[in-house]
Point group: C2
Chain length 236, copies 2
DNA sequence: CGTGGGATTGAGGCTGCTCAAATTTGGTGG
DNA sequence: CCACCAAATTTGAGCAGCCTCAATCCCACG
């Protein structure tokens, strides 16, 4: 059930870490980075595994290195809202009470850099530049969260899907990848739970976009044949 | 249009500030507090005034001292999503690009403690305890934001209204006030835009709760006659 | 080549929206 | 104190968008 592979402490790996530039650690100098590296260990998860759960008292911070995760909350009756998708470089922290307030699953294979709570807390405690960096990331997340509230509360199904495609492409692009087609590692149900829709509505909406040739649905992704049209549909 | 009254720097007022214990400044000692007080000035806004706008490049941080504000985003066609209500002690910051990513209006009379960006930034720069405090507040906001996403994306109108009443009461209670009835300073449209509903649906839902005596609608507020029933409806 | 899970398509229904009117509330001035 | 007006709220009727339930399709995989 949990074939988790833990690799040795990765202090020697930090310097050429794939997310070095974008992650929390971007604010560290070489010496600090070495010390910091001792605190984290790389852990792998395979597709569908749960990295942590909402209700757990967790003892770790996570830095996503490779792969995609869905971050979600469940209602008692099973309804699910995906509050975000995590990409490499994203930092997942717990709140004051020592819990994440959401759960996280791997979508496809995932590698994280895991930090134990106490040593991590001690390390950042007196490093204002790191604290500022963490702050910066939190602010950005807050901003995204508020944008998503607008989407969930005030946009139609068509607008939601169009905005999702554009936003997801945007994130992948800023992750340096040149894209001809947009990969969609998450399944339709994930997209539906992210947009506050049902799987059928998502499917229908995509089909509706494909019919006039605005997008093309490919296995594992889509491509924007008419990006301008999609942007118009997203209605800013 | 902007009869804003600015009071002199309030360093002598900080020590007995109403939000001293809950706001950012709770992490400061006496000496720091005096210095900090020099940076802020108290500003008053009257009902309905806009404190800052989404698109403005703003130059200030705000600490809400008295009153209630609605924080919202607008779509180009005028649809509005209220992303939160600010209460005394809440801290409103801009993001890296120097903008708030939402607008803020006063609901009733409001007093804020306003800080200019640069001196504020310099003050917190090397104060890890303050940075940690700010972080803490950001994390809490993020947590609330995610809860609200669940509400917006996955709850029915009845559940939304019930959850709103409980959540609002909770916040007021934790602000020390004993409550017989729950004051609702915001109007129905505000509630609707907060919950992702129309004003008619909010009104109908409240009526539906009042008819069997679950709540009572009073001038400027409501009272929970049967809190257990409301909690059941919220389906937490 | 068969199997099964994900995705798509279809038909019909319900929740919440739209448009419109009635009612209540709050403010203002006589 | 009361009449009157504007604004907010409530109520009603009808409709539409999205959901529900169900069947079918499409691949990937054994």
């Amino acid at each position: 059930m949990k074939p988790v592979v833990t690799i040795e402490p990765n202090w020697q790996l930090c310097s050429d870490c794939a997310v070095r530039a974008s992650a929390v650690c971007s604010s560290l100098d070489a010496a600090e980075l070495r010390e910091f590296g001792h605190l984290g260990r790389r852990v792998h998860f395979s597709s569908g595994q749960t990295v942590f759960s909402e209700e757990d008292i967790t003892t770790s911070f996570y830095n996503l290195l490779e792969g995609v995760m869905r971050l979600y909350k469940l209602l008692p009756d099973g309804r699910r809202q995906i509050v975000g998708f995590a990409l490499p470089g994203d930092f997942l922290r717990m709140n004051i009470s020592g819990r994440h307030n959401f759960s996280a699953d791997a979508i496809g294979a995932v590698t994280v850099c895991q930090f134990a709570k106490s040593p991590f807390g001690r390390f950042i405690e007196d490093r204002p530049h790191l604290l500022r960096r963490i702050n910066e990331l939190a602010i950005r997340e807050l901003s995204q969260a508020r944008d998503h509230m607008v989407l969930l509360g005030r946009r139609s199904a068509d607008e939601k899907v169009a905005a999702f495609l554009l936003g997801w492409r945007e994130r992948l692009v800023s992750l340096k990848r040149a894209l001809d087609t947009i990969p969609l590692p998450m399944n339709r149900q994930d997209i539906a739970d992210y947009l506050g829709l049902t799987i059928e509505t998502v499917s229908r909406t995509l089909t509706k976009l494909e019919r006039p040739g605005v997008i093309e649905i490919i296995h594992g992704g889509i491509s924007l044949l008419d990006p301008a049209k999609v942007e118009a549909l997203a209605a800013a």
